[in-house]
């Protein structure tokens, strides 16, 4: 009842509200989502200002200070409240167990200053700066160290590396889902728009007479087979419509494809025949011959009609047939063997993630387009003479915009998870770059029992968990706000 009443009032109210205003109102009803949103904004800001927040540069390592526990920050000296300070960490070897131990030497105090000069860096990659959130002159002079969250296996400051890692871990999710969205929208839109319509893509050289034509005039049909070939007809048509270059290009691509196919098949057959024998030899020869004949037939007389919808959907099925973790692992495991720079590696992981992930989006977009193309406004646009491309991308896709935003916000956490998983397995982002998954993988090093003494190595995992949780809450609220029809 209450719902109906508010709807009524909304309808009668003097100032009308746009879709986005209403969406914002609905969004504001979710307190968790607002916290999650603020949390994510803070995280992104910290990632952007990582150079400033981190006391140390990304790759700064202290070879002798491996797996040092978080530096204790003291607030009192001689019973009085004082400026927070740290003590120097000294490495000693235990005389009885021969284990390395780290002890604090509090003979000198090293006070922590805020917004202080430290290691130089380039803000945003080009503005030279040396201001840091925390530090002191002793930090650069390496008299003492400030490891708020301990160090990793190379003696690098985990606190600093988490913020540098945030840059990769947080952006790769967004970028990968955007790339996957672009592929998914194009594929899904084409697939949904042309569903049920076969596209005439490939035509053979000759036109084979149909039974109808044979019946009407056998001789003329035979003549057409030889002289009035499909090719010649298409050529004439293209010249009349002044699309000759396009026609020739299409022809070239088509013959290159068929020719390539036949060539590959020929090579395969030759190689295969050398190593097979007996019945297998005979059967394989038969299959290869049939395939070859089919291809040649298609090249000469065929009119292969390709259903774009079918093609896209089959591809997504193929991708979905392999569990996505296995696909991710083999792709990145194989490509991780190449020695490439860290920015290239980032791109590679991005491409792999979106390649594996576009299928689901394409399916969603397809079902949306199937619905929307029957809408009145899409029909109206077509009636006004708009081309397919315009109808699709100016009318249908904008109609699905809210829904697409929801879908993207729900897929981002999956990509963050996938990237950290890959990096955790050592197949994603590689040293010396930093990513949360890679940082968490250090917790595994030194055996399971080492975990007992190195609890601070769990911190990157908390960050992965918290950001995925925040994105989930955000996505849930966005779904309520932008897609009011959906159930929740």
């Amino acid at each position: 009842m209450a719902d109906a009443e508010t709807n009524l009032i909304e309808g009668l109210s003097e100032h009308s509200q746009s879709y986005w205003q209403k969406a914002w109102q609905r969004f504001r009803r979710h307190p968790f989502a607002r916290w999650a949103g603020s949390f994510l904004i803070i995280l992104y800001l910290l990632a952007l200002f990582a150079d400033f927040v981190a006391p140390y540069p990304e790759a700064k390592s202290f070879r002798k200070l491996q797996f040092v526990e978080p530096t204790k920050v003291y607030y009192t000296a001689d019973g009085h409240l004082s400026r927070p300070y740290v003590c120097k960490v000294v490495r000693t070897r235990n005389k009885h167990t021969f284990k390395l131990e780290f002890k604090q030497d509090c003979s000198a105090h090293y006070p922590i200053y805020f917004i202080v000069h430290g290691y130089p860096y380039k803000f945003l990659g080009f503005i030279p700066m040396d201001l840091h959130l925390l530090g002191g002159p002793w930090l650069v002079e390496e008299k003492a160290q400030l490891f708020l969250w301990g160090t990793d296996d190379f003696g690098r400051d985990l606190f600093s590396r988490i913020w540098f890692g945030a840059r990769i871990s947080l952006t790769i999710g967004i970028l990968a889902s955007l790339v996957a969205l672009i592929i998914g929208v194009i594929m899904g839109a084409v697939s949904g728009f042309y569903a049920g319509q076969k596209t005439h893509l490939v035509r053979g050289v000759f036109h084979l007479p149909t039974r109808e034509e044979w019946r009407l005039s056998g001789g003329a049909a035979l003549l057409r087979l030889v002289s009035g070939s499909e090719l010649a007809r298409g050529f004439g048509e293209a010249r009349r419509e002044r699309q000759l270059p396009l026609f020739l290009l299409g022809l070239l691509v088509q013959y290159a494809l068929w020719g390539g196919g036949i060539y590959i098949l020929w090579i395969t057959m030759q190689g295969y025949m050398q190593v097979s024998k007996g019945l297998e030899h005979v059967i394989a020869q038969g299959i290869f011959m049939l395939l070859m004949l089919y291809m040649i037939w298609q090249l000469l007389f065929g009119r292969v009609q390709i259903d774009a919808d079918d093609l896209v959907m089959r591809s997504t099925e193929v991708l979905a047939a392999i569990p996505s973790l296995f696909l991710l692992i083999i792709l990145s495991g194989i490509l991780a063997k190449y020695d490439i720079s860290s920015s290239m590696r980032f791109m590679l992981v991005l491409i792999i993630l979106s390649f594996v992930g576009w299928g689901g989006l394409a399916r969603t977009v397809r079902s949306l387009v199937l619905q929307l193309r029957e809408m009145d406004y899409a029909q109206a646009a077509r009636a006004l003479g708009a081309k397919d491309f315009r109808v699709l991308f100016r009318h249908i896709i904008p109609g699905a915009l809210g829904y697409l935003i929801v879908v993207v916000s729900l897929t981002i956490p999956g990509y963050i998870l996938a990237e950290s998983g890959l990096s955790f397995l050592g197949l994603g982002i590689q040293e010396p770059s930093s990513s949360w998954g890679l940082l968490l993988s250090k917790a595994q090093q030194g055996g399971i029992s080492a975990l007992r003494d190195r609890q601070w190595l769990f911190i990157p995992g908390l960050f992965i968990f918290a950001s995925i949780l925040a994105y989930n809450y955000l996505g849930d609220a966005l779904r309520d706000a932008l897609d009011p029809r959906a159930e929740h």
Binding site: I264, L265, I267, T268, G271, Y272, V275, S276, E280, A284, R314, S315, E317, V318, L319, A320, A321, I322, P323, S324, L325, F326, L327, I329, I330, L331, G333, I334, L335, K337, Y338, P413, L417, S420, G421, F424, L425, G437, L440, A443, Q444, I448, S449, L451, R452, Q455, F458, G461, I464, F465, I468, L469, N472, Y473, E487, H488
Partner: protein, 332 residues
């Protein structure tokens, strides 16, 4: 029905061919092959290396290699592992069974927790219990498998430190000794019990995400069906509340849950993969990682193709189950 199954089967063939070909193509992207790292080994000369390539068929065009592999697969032969120097199937089989133990137990875990919790949450919507389970579900969906697995290991370690003996095993799949006996010498039921004991924590980790997701689906479905007209009719007839909930609402709400097995399985294989790696469970994924490291083509192809076949069987089974649960579905 039989006709439907046969049609489904034929529909799966091109997908299978496409997926295995894609996997084969990806492996070809690698720089070098299995023999490449031997080139640095001074005990091999050039001729020997070329000879090895010829023996393994690595000098052939990759389409030939694929055709060979495919014809072998059709005959039930998965090739030879280059690094283990035995048949792929011998290497693969125990690993696959280990993974299956984890996956099957996880499925049981997921369904035996998500359905009751979903029902509870829907029947007491917005109660404290519902809020609690909703929060747990959100956490369960957000926690990365590998992180959760590490936490569980830490938990097992903590319990061991606290009680002086292992309440839960710290990684692995079986104990070396059972009650003083060698594992293989122990009676079968004790072996199984030991594996089950080892599986407790891995199954919790592998099943959590699925449980959390399905709990939400179950809750939504129950809430939706609660509002339907037929429920009001059932109540108006004077049926007991228990009958209304379990014979009418639940019967309809459970249909999408059954259908979800198909979506759940691939994720479960993936989720279990991380658990296997972190918790030292000797399943498919650790072997796959190893094989990728050495580009052991046929082990990679074997594990991928066997997984694809398993998933396809799983999907088919879930379809059959769906037909059994939902008599409205007609296959014509």
């Amino acid at each position: 029905m039989t006709a439907y199954i046969i049609r489904r089967f034929f529909h799966l063939i091109p997908t299978f061919l496409g997926a295995t070909f894609l996997a084969f193509l990806i492996i070809q992207l690698a720089p070098g092959d299995f023999v490449t790292r031997l080139e640095l080994d001074p005990s091999f000369n050039h001729a020997q290396i070329e000879n090895l390539r010829r023996i393994y068929g690595l000098d052939q065009p990759f389409t030939v290699q694929y055709a060979k592999w495919l014809s072998g697969f059709l005959k039930g032969y998965l090739g030879v592992s280059l690094s283990y120097q035995t048949g792929v199937w011998e290497v693969l089989k125990p690993r696959m069974l280990n993974s299956m133990v984890l996956v099957v137990l996880s499925i049981i875990f997921i369904y035996s927790f998500s359905i009751p919790i979903g029902i509870y949450s829907a029947l007491r919507q917005y109660s404290w219990g519902d809020r609690f389970w909703t929060t747990v579900a959100f956490i369960g969906m957000a926690i990365p498998n590998f992180f959760f697995a590490l936490l569980m290991l830490y938990f097992a370690l903590y319990l061991k430190d606290k009680f002086g003996h292992e309440i839960f095993p710290i990684g692995g799949m079986r104990s070396l000794y059972i009650a003083g006996m060698d594992f293989s010498a122990a009676p079968k039921w004790r072996q199984w019990l030991d594996i089950l004991w080892h599986a407790v924590l891995p199954v919790i980790v592998a099943g959590t995400a699925g449980t959390a997701g399905l709990t939400r689906v179950m809750r939504t479905q129950m809430l939706e069906n609660k509002m339907q007209d037929y429920v009001r009719t059932a109540r108006a007839k004077g049926l007991a509340e228990r009958v209304v909930v379990y014979k009418h609402i639940l019967r309809n709400a459970i249909i999408p849950i059954v259908a979800s097995i198909g979506f759940l399985l691939p994720d479960l294989f993936g989720g279990a993969g991380f658990v296997e790696v972190v918790m030292g469970w000797p399943g498919l994924t650790p072997m796959l990682l190893e094989a990728l490291f050495s580009i052991d083509v046929y082990i990679i192809m074997g594990s991928i193709s066997v997984t694809i076949v398993l998933l396809m069987i799983g999907n088919l089974l879930s379809d059959l189950l769906l037909a059994w649960v939902d008599p409205r579905i007609r296959y014509s």
